[in-house]
């Protein structure tokens, strides 16, 4: 008889793996992707394809060069590609999309040690870098169901006080408005978010705290609360990016503090800043606070007063 395996307990584990978690995130992002193709046309599929392909390839090549273990199969690079694409205008030049993807994976993720080690969300950081580098193309908004006509996003209308220019609530819900290709369809994003909560991939604390704070603040300052919720990247940010494991707190209270912080910074930028949108900045800023929030909310070991 061959030798028996010897290993430390436990000898059984749950079926949950990193790969399955990432697969769930990808599934949750599909409705919004489909919506983007319907609303903005086939070019959004092209942008998504370029981002995903460049993310996966750059991870593959980086790990090859650094002689690190290949981690493509954990699917996290695909998630980063999808999220970055969803946060770009459909008209973005493809080389710029490729540059952003490369930056997200190599600079933000891999240079800090790869999956789980990065302190900032790769997709968000790359988007902000692109916003600075390519400010023209990054704020060029194609109108829904039109190839060339441009439009302003609801948030621009809001900050200009042009309330009569705003799309209807129904259009906001369906995503028929100007904006990044994957952020507009509120219904599709909510469906994905609820799926993630139901699958226990994320908990409700962050999105509820984040969206709740924006709602309360816009009610307080009487700034078209429903439009605030459905505009910009709030829904996609709150469900998909402010819930990233590595870059956000893992405790219940940590998540609530993180969500409230994101909400407040978003409101601060939207209401009083020069930029119309603040979701990306808010998440990146709160990413920096994450280690402190984690430390603050770390549960106390149950020592019962013993030494």
């Amino acid at each position: 008889m061959s030798k028996l395996v010897s290993s430390v307990s436990p000898h059984i584990t749950s079926n949950r793996t990193t790969q399955k978690i990432m697969l769930d995130v990808i599934i949750a992002l599909i409705p919004a992707g489909v919506a983007s193709v319907i609303i903005f046309g086939l070019r959004s599929l092209l942008v998504i394809g370029v981002c995903v392909a460049v993310c996966v390839l750059s991870e593959l090549i980086f790990e090859k060069i650094c002689k690190k273990e290949n981690t493509i199969l954990d699917l996290s690079a695909i998630v980063t590609g999808l999220l970055l694409a969803y946060n770009l205008p459909v008209s973005i030049p493809l080389w710029q999309a490729a540059f952003g993807s490369l930056f997200a994976i190599v600079v933000v993720k891999q240079l800090f040690g790869g999956i789980g080690q990065n302190f900032a969300n790769p997709a968000i950081t790359a988007r902000i870098v692109m916003l600075v580098a390519f400010s023209g193309t990054m704020t060029h908004w194609t109108a829904p169901f039109a190839d060339t006509a441009t439009t302003a996003t609801p948030l621009v209308h809001l900050s200009n006080g042009a309330l009569n220019e705003l799309p209807s609530y129904l259009d906001m819900l369906l995503g028929v408005r100007g904006g990044c290709l994957g952020e507009t369809c509120t219904i599709a994003l909510l469906a994905g978010g609820i799926y993630l909560i139901a699958r226990r991939v994320i908990s409700w604390h962050t999105p509820v705290a984040f969206i709740g704070t924006v709602l309360v603040m816009s009610l307080l300052f009487d700034k078209a609360p429903l439009y605030q919720l459905m505009s910009g990247g709030l829904i996609i940010g709150a469900f998909f990016m402010a819930t990233d494991y590595a870059t956000t707190p893992s405790t219940k209270w940590g998540k609530i503090i993180f969500g409230v912080g994101c909400g407040l910074i978003t409101i601060l930028i939207r209401f009083w800043g020069t930029a119309p949108e603040g979701v990306s900045y808010s998440i990146l800023l709160m990413n920096i606070f994450t280690p402190y929030i984690s430390k603050l909310t770390r549960p106390k070991p149950l020592t019962g007063g013993g030494k």
Binding site: I12, K300, P301, L302, G306
Partner: protein, 439 residues
């Protein structure tokens, strides 16, 4: 506050299998280290004949336990045996004559006060049968009996597969209640709580029915959330108090005793037969016919599996105990110990530890630790060799229940890490003490 834990698959396939007696094995190997504390000292010589229940090794030192022959026959040799945890001990190998003749010393002991009760518990050879193997007479030998507010009977049996405590409750309920009467009489216990997980309906009904006719006994039905039977968890979930770190349940007024441990004591006091056999759950994906088997202590595990129809596929991993905290054995020749409550054999698909990937910081391990520990921080402090940090993180509080490693999506060896961290911290604390002592 609710303690964290996890939902594990129950897999209690053998709950309805009344225990079957194993045919007398030809050879038993009885190690001197079947308890926490100093190894027992053999008092028999090679070639000597022994009978069932005869003392073959005596307790050596304050924390130790005596050991009795589980068969009748001849002492074949005194061997050195490496236990599954790597420690070496002497083992008495007895060639059975198949007669199972009972030794003349097996007579009900005279018990009439606390001291004679504790003496009887000591000579019964009973140790913590839930798996820990702490000598029971030491646990019950409380100096100040007024400190005991409640005795908690651990009948949670939260490990998957294992049903030997279930069978004790169903087949020997009167012995458990005999034991309760003994505790009431000699320890002055006023309050007894039987803690059972809610996946054992028949046991709960049986215990409740008996408790209704006994004063001061409560049956507490607990959710089936692992590790419900962990001592600290059970104490908290029954009397709402947290056992202090480094302390004992007695520090919060409780004594926790496993239901089979208690029934074994009652059996000894009733019949004089010390702990020489165990009911063992034999199960696992490689086993043909899972069963509960009564086997003499020292029986090779291979005999148990043969009795259960052999293997349906090649066993690749064999455990003493359940899959959450059980210990992998090096070979099928390893013997049944006093605290063995299950022997599980797994085939290839379940034997291989899963592939470990990078920590993704999901925090599941932190959120599921019943004692609120922070495994990633402990792993980091251990890697960076920071014993002070390990101390601040209370690494030595870890009871190795394995919830963290169970839920980890990256399949990281968290328990292994914690064990290493604990060893490092304990060494550090020892050295600090020595330094202080040297001043």
């Amino acid at each position: 506050m609710k303690l964290s834990g996890i939902r594990v698959p129950h897999r209690k396939h053998t709950a309805d299998c009344a225990p079957q007696r194993l045919p007398v094995p030809e050879l038993v190997t009885i190690p001197m280290s079947m308890h926490i504390g100093k190894h027992a000292k053999p008092i028999v010589k090679v070639g000597e004949t022994v009978k069932v229940g005869q003392l073959i090794a005596e307790a050596d030192g304050f924390i130790s336990a005596p050991i009795h022959s589980s068969v009748s026959g001849k002492i074949k040799k005194l061997d050195e045996l490496t236990m599954s945890n790597g420690t070496k001990t002497t083992a008495i190998v007895i060639e059975s004559d198949g007669m199972m003749e009972v030794h003349e010393s097996v007579q009900p002991p005279v018990v009439n006060d606390f001291d004679s009760f504790i003496a009887a518990v000591k000579s019964s050879g009973v140790v913590g049968l839930g798996g820990a193997g702490f000598p029971t007479f030491v646990k019950l030998g409380v100096k100040d009996l007024s400190k005991i507010d409640a005795v908690i009977i651990n009948a949670a049996e939260c490990e998957p597969y294992i049903t030997s405590d279930t069978r004790t409750m169903l087949d020997k309920p009167e012995l458990i209640f005999d034991g309760i009467e003994l505790l009431k009489k000699y320890l002055g216990t006023k309050r007894v709580i039987i803690g059972i997980e809610n996946n054992k309906k028949a046991c709960t009904a049986k215990m409740q029915q008996m408790a209704d006719n006994t004063s001061g006994v409560e049956v507490k039905v607990l959710p089936s959330i692992y590790p419900q039977g962990g001592e600290k968890v059970l104490v908290y979930n029954t009397i709402g108090k947290i056992v202090p770190k480094g302390g004992l349940p007695l520090d919060v007024g409780a004594i926790v005793i496993n239901c089979t441990t208690l029934s074994s004591i009652a059996e000894y006091i009733k019949t004089g037969m010390p702990l020489v056999e165990k009911c063992i759950t034999v199960d696992g994906s490689a086993v043909n016919e899972p069963k509960n088997v009564i086997a003499p202590i020292g029986t090779p595990l291979s005999n148990l599996f043969e009795f259960c129809g052999g293997f349906k596929s090649e066993p690749k991993k064999v455990l003493y105990g359940g899959p959450m905290m059980g210990i992998a054995v090096p070979s099928l020749d390893m013997p049944v110990l006093k605290m063995t409550n299950a022997a599980l054999a797994f085939d290839e698909s379940e034997a291989k530890p899963p592939k470990t990937t990078a920590c993704i910081g999901c925090g599941e391990c932190i959120n599921h630790c019943p004692l609120n520990l922070n495994p990633p921080a402990i792993a980091k402090a251990n890697k960076l060799n920071l014993p002070e940090e390990l101390k601040a993180l209370c690494a030595d509080l870890c009871m190795e229940c394995g919830c963290c490693a169970y839920v980890c999506p990256a399949k990281r060896p968290i328990v292994q890490n914690n064990k290493l961290a604990k060893a490092k911290l304990n060494k550090y604390i020892r050295e600090q003490k020595e330094k202080e002592g040297g001043k």
